[in-house]
């Protein structure tokens, strides 16, 4: 199970990438997609919605569970990945390429407070 060191992570298995333009891209980790099994459906937040950190904002549904996805940091949803919605299996194929949504963070510093790859691996492999 891969955990790229360039990303940040949450305890609830989201990965987060800080983009050069200050926006943040969010997806679910390889560990998460593996645990879920075949992903069949994605329910993503509406663009424009304001999220609090930890707020339940999306659902990744597999054949055995419909799992909640939580906003890793506070921010406004600026884009969602329609390609992933149209091909949910892409999340299984490459969880780090199949991003789910992008946020404009309320506070860019929040990203640095998230788990690094090593800390996430400890949790994922616990």
């Amino acid at each position: 199970m891969s955990t790229p060191t360039s990303l940040r992570y949450t305890e609830t298995h989201e990965w987060v990438r800080m983009e050069p333009d200050g926006t943040v891209t969010v997806g679910i980790t390889d560990h998460a997609q593996n645990a879920l099994g075949d992903v069949v459906f994605l329910e993503l937040p509406d663009v424009g919605r304001t999220l609090k950190a930890g707020e339940n904002c999306a659902i990744v549904e597999s054949v055995k569970a419909a799992s909640d996805i939580y906003a890793p940091i506070a921010g406004e949803v600026i884009e969602t990945n329609q390609a992933a919605v149209d091909a949910p299996e892409s999340v299984n194929a490459d969880a780090y390429a199949a991003w789910l949504f992008k946020l404009k963070p309320v506070n860019a510093d929040d990203v640095a407070k998230l788990l690094d790859a090593a800390a996430y691996d400890k949790i994922a492999n616990a």
């Binding site: 549904e61 055995k64 419909a66």
Partner: protein, 730 residues
Amino acid sequence: MLNLPLSALERRDDFISRHIGPDAAETAAMCADIGVASLATLISETVPAGIRLAAPLAIAAAVPEHEALAKLKAIASKNVLKRSLIGLGYYDTILPKVILRNVLENPGWYTAYTPYQAEIAQGRLEALLNWQQMVMDLTGMALANASLLDEATAAAEAMAMARRASKSKSNAFFVDSAAFPQTIDVVKTRAKYFGWDLVFGTAEEAASADVFGALLQYPDKTGAVRDLTDTIAALKAKGALVAVASDLMALVLLKSPGEMGADIALGSAQRFGVPMGFGGPHAAFFATRDEHKRSVPGRIIGVSVDARGKKALRMALQTREQHIRREKANSNICTSQVLLANMAGMYAVYHGPKGLQTIASRIHKLAAIFAAGLKGAGYTLRTAQFFDTLDIETGDKTATLHADAVAAGYNLRHVSDTALGVSFDEKTTRDDVSALFGLFGVKADLAALEASVALPESLLRTDAILTHPVFNSHHTEHEMLRYLKKLQNRDLALDHSMISLGSCTMKLNATSEMIPVTWPEFSDVHPFVPREQAAGYLEMIEGLANYLRAVTGFPAICMQPNSGAQGEYAGLIAIRRYHEARGDAHRNICLIPKSAHGTNPASAQMCGLNVVVVDCDENGNVDVADLKAKAEQHKDNLAALMITYPSTHGVFEEAVKDICATVHAFGGQVYMDGANLNAQVGLTSPATIGADVSHMNLHKTFCIPQASAAPAWARSASRRTSPRSWPTMP
């Protein structure tokens, strides 16, 4: 043997040995195996002494099966059978005997099990697939589920689904004021606890409503049939989801809700062969468009492949159901009404499209002839376009006409002090129409009115229905019999072996318990008959309630909820009303152990309660320290604790009295999930352990068959909340 006293030969407790498997030798061997001296020792080591009942249950001694049946027959004979033309969702119907004997009366069909292990019953799943297809065809929808509990709760589910799927910012839901009264009542309760507003009006007024969803009845309670296409379009243009409550027999002839643009179609399938039975149980159908499939409550059967690539049936889209999503589930519904759904599906298989069209056309023609005769005699009809039902202005003759009809053997619908209604059904004959003509003083000749039709061409359906081969292949009795047997042979049911699934408590009900179900005195009674015609039912229901009072230790029993999850919902509502009555309406926290059945948190969220999960310790018991901490933390808003006893792991947790006392101390009420009541009866009781409200699953603890998820009845009981808190039927 001849030396034995007479009392030993009378075998008045024969029932026990016939229906409880292990004999004395086997019991002794099992006790030895687990290291206890006897069953009594096992019980005293398992059930905490502090909650043991001091005396045996205060109920009458057992009687042999044939005597019990004789007693029931005497009670049944107090029901009076008339031809009920009352309608409002319940209509007389003819259950083909091949289906009666080989499905309803057949343990191979009524003991199969599908709620959580569907794949062991492929035959039953095919029957459900037939049901789903029948519903899809008749409603004009892309997808149908494997049935809901009844029309009223199906309408409430449609409202919740509309809220989930609609993007409308309105907080209101439109309800057709001509929907069935019992449907309106249930929708009102659900809306209240979800916090939604209801707007009532005519179907015409619906078009201008600004709502997140709407419920329209087609045909409505007056029998009126109207084209809802424009109304539906207007509602949808504003972002509302539209649910149409309808009637399968009417839909055989009428333009479908799907064709009119509806998002959801629902209703009762009772009139497809399932006896009225004083109100149930019946299967409700629920169908929708493909785009809403993930929002549908309940079970859906789907076609898949097995490990060898061969076609196999399984449950689909379960990820949104209570056992997986818990408080985030689409609904708290646990099961469905599969036995009844399968009977209705087989009714369609046996009659086929032509057979159903014949029945529906006959029903309509008789109604139209009756209406024409009334009009010719000067009566004013309130319903112009109808399928089987019409309301008639009868002015000051209303009471007399109604009474004369009863005396002549007919129950008409009492619409108001100045109007009566009639609903015709599969059993209605030309002789009935002649008799009614006589009662209404109509001198017309039926033959002269034969060309009568009261449905415009524009409302008749033009698409072909039930084209699948299964609806066109089994129209002789022997073919039907073999088809039923073929399906039955694919299933693992209790007639083969044990099904060791907990929670659902699989047991083979005694045949003598099933026999009265099909006695006409029980099966042919309409739920809305004048009370004096149902004296037998009322006596039996009260008798059962008394037994349940003895078993639970609670004085107040509600006999209405028709599933465990519905019992939970009713019980939690009673708790909310209790708090409201004491000025504590703000109490909205519900503590639920992690080990709880999925319906518990699902039901709690449906009542507007916020779920706080209580940990379990490493033994799977409620973590008492965590419970106490959380109860105290939430003491200002604590509404309830939901607890299963013994637990879902089968353990009689010793701390239960302490747990209940803690919750009481912080202002909450204790709801006991009665799924494991079997383990309590006679040994302890919900009242003894400290619970305030409990439901009982009569399909687990008493003799309603599981029938592959046909809950049929559950009951809710409470310690002290007033009868006003309980649901009532109009």
